[in-house]
């Protein structure tokens, strides 16, 4: 059940070029892949709350990982420990629990944000989790060490070859998909998600993707965040998503 809650900032760390990890205190629980809406201002401008995935959470903390990319995230990045933030959540439909034991997480840049909590949750449930991480360049493989350390398998790719395989991350996945038929959970830029979904389809793997959309309410009331599903109906990213079976939306 979502609620509106005022949380205190415990820590705000710059963990990479323009990327911040924000840890908040307060009673909070969520499923991996769910998100929260965060107030970046107490005035009327910027007006809307900002959606961020749950990067991590425990009974008394919520951690977000975000890239400073516009007005709202810039204001957020200026906040200091001790300040309060109004948060609404948990929201949306996260990654499903699956019966398969072999799982592949595919992250593109800051799209790694929800996959940390997912990785930990899956491992706690006894799954073997491979982590495939792609980005334009090494400095966009945010917090790569933490995934490298935790994941049962870890592979990385950069467009410019500054780290791992030079090329796109899907190029690393073809063989594994063919042989092991894992379930795939992916989050990242649209182009990457489509490539992953295509590969999954070809290899008959189940694949779930986490989408982004411009949101107002975040709770399903405004119909602002829709994407077309394969039947051409508009479905809400904030309720039916943000995680969708890839075959539903691509």
């Amino acid at each position: 059940m979502p609620k509106k809650i005022s949380m205190e900032i415990i820590e705000q760390e710059n963990v990479g070029s323009n990327v911040y990890r924000l840890t908040l205190a307060g009673k909070f629980s969520a499923q991996p892949g769910q998100f929260v809406q965060v107030a970046v201002s107490t005035a009327y401008d910027p007006f809307l709350k900002r959606p961020f995935s749950v990067h991590d959470c425990s009974a008394n903390t919520l951690t977000l990982l975000y890239r400073r990319s516009g007005r709202g995230t810039s204001l957020l990045a200026e906040k200091k420990a001790g300040e309060k933030l109004e948060v609404v959540g948990p929201l949306g439909t996260g990654f499903p629990m699956v019966t398969e034991d072999k799982i592949i997480l595919v992250a593109g840049g800051i799209g790694s944000a929800p996959l940390f909590y997912l990785l930990k949750t899956l491992q706690a449930a006894g799954k073997k989790v491979a982590f495939y991480y792609g980005a334009r360049s090494k400095n966009e493989l945010i917090l790569r060490e933490q995934y490298q350390m935790l994941a049962d398998e870890y592979m990385e790719a950069t467009d410019d070859g500054s780290c791992g395989h030079q090329g796109v991350v899907t190029e690393l996945m073809a063989d594994v998909l063919d042989e092991e038929k894992p379930v795939i959970f992916a989050c990242g830029p649209d182009g990457m998600l489509r490539a992953v979904a295509k590969l999954a389809k070809r290899n008959k793997c189940r694949c779930y993707v986490s989408l982004e959309a411009h949101m107002a309410c975040g709770v399903g009331a405004c119909l602002g965040c829709v994407v077309p599903n394969i039947r051409g109906e508009y479905v809400r990213v904030c309720v039916e998503g943000p995680v969708f079976p890839a075959v539903e939306v691509f």
């Binding site: 979502p2 009327y44 401008d45 007006f47 107002a216 119909l223 602002g224 829709v226 109906e233």
Partner: protein
């Protein structure tokens, strides 16, 4: 404790606060945040005869102290909506259905279907949606068409008939008077102002629909002025809306002449804004020793008239 009840035609509300149509889905979305029975009424999404798919995304964009939306009245059609509406009855607060269409026939269809059961407390006739190609706002800018539409709908129901006006007109009082004389029991204003935004990197409009409807705090001054004007021009009650985000805002509308208020975009930013506004109005009344909210309806006009 001050009396918060107000009347819209035959309909009596326990308090003057309701969500604005299209900003509250079919009600359930905000049920996790508070008891919906604390609302004066529940107003549901614009409902049409057949299902509407709505506009392509991107449908919303933030603007200074506000937002543009171009939802395009996505809704499951009146038959499916009816089922959802009956779910709301358990909240023991009146349900008001916002009615839209491309033609007079379509508006009639929606009301006829809903009249089959006794679930709806009032109809809010949306003649002001800026985001649909035919019908919608075009209905709301011509007093003759408004008169024709409301005259056609009036015989279909004994329920309170509210007409929701567009602010995108030279003289909103003209439309208000047309609606009143055709038998409307109350008026809602304002719907959104037509606006747009351009993505300077992509060099094209941000919204797929090109234009959208502006709402939120940015429009409050315009909405308040229109409520002031319309309540001078008609004798039926007005539901004021446009940018209300706090009890103070709501009180401004009531002092300007609104009998009740509706809250739209502010729900998105603060999911508990509606009950907070109810509590804040009560506090305001108490702090000035008013015994009823009805005492302050239009009070700012009387103050001006006394002083000048």
């Amino acid at each position: 404790m001050p009396d918060l009840t107000v009347s819209l035609g035959k309909l009596v509300l326990k308090n003057p606060v309701m969500p604005a149509s299209g900003c509250f889905g079919y009600g359930e979305e905000y049920a996790p945040f508070y008891d919906l029975s604390s609302l004066g009424a529940i107003v549901v999404k614009g409902t049409t005869a057949k299902p509407w798919q709505g506009n392509a995304p991107q449908r919303i964009v933030e603007t200074p102290a506000g937002m543009l939306n171009a939802i395009g009245l996505q809704n499951p059609g009146v038959v499916a909506a009816k089922a959802k509406i009956s779910q709301l009855l358990r909240y023991r607060t009146p349900v008001i259905v916002n009615v839209s269409g491309h033609s007079i026939e379509e508006y009639k269809k929606v009301i006829s279907v809903l009249e089959e059961e006794n679930t709806v407390a009032a109809y809010e006739i949306n003649i002001s949606c800026p985001n649909v190609k035919a019908g919608g706002m075009t209905f709301g800018t011509d007093p003759d068409i408004v008169n024709k539409l409301i005259t056609a709908l009036r015989p279909l129901t004994e329920k309170t008939l509210i007409v929701k006006l567009s602010p995108n007109v030279t003289d909103i009082t003209e439309i208000a008077v047309a609606a009143e004389s055709a038998g409307a029991d109350a008026l809602s204003l304002i719907n959104t102002l037509v606006g747009m935004a351009i993505d300077i990197e992509k060099k094209r409009p941000v919204l797929a629909n090109i234009t959208g409807g502006l709402s939120g705090p940015a429009v409050k001054p315009v909405a308040l002025r229109m409520v002031w004007q319309v309540t001078d021009a008609v004798n039926i009650p007005v539901i004021g809306m446009g940018g209300i985000s706090s009890a103070e805002d709501a009180v401004e509308f009531i002092l300007a002449g609104a009998t009740a208020v509706a809250i739209g975009a502010a729900n998105f930013v603060n999911p508990t804004v509606c009950p907070e506004v109810v509590a804040g109005i009560e506090e305001y009344l108490s702090s000035y020793n008013y015994t009823s909210v009805r005492e302050i309806v239009g009070l700012a006009k009387r103050t001006v008239n006394t002083q000048s």
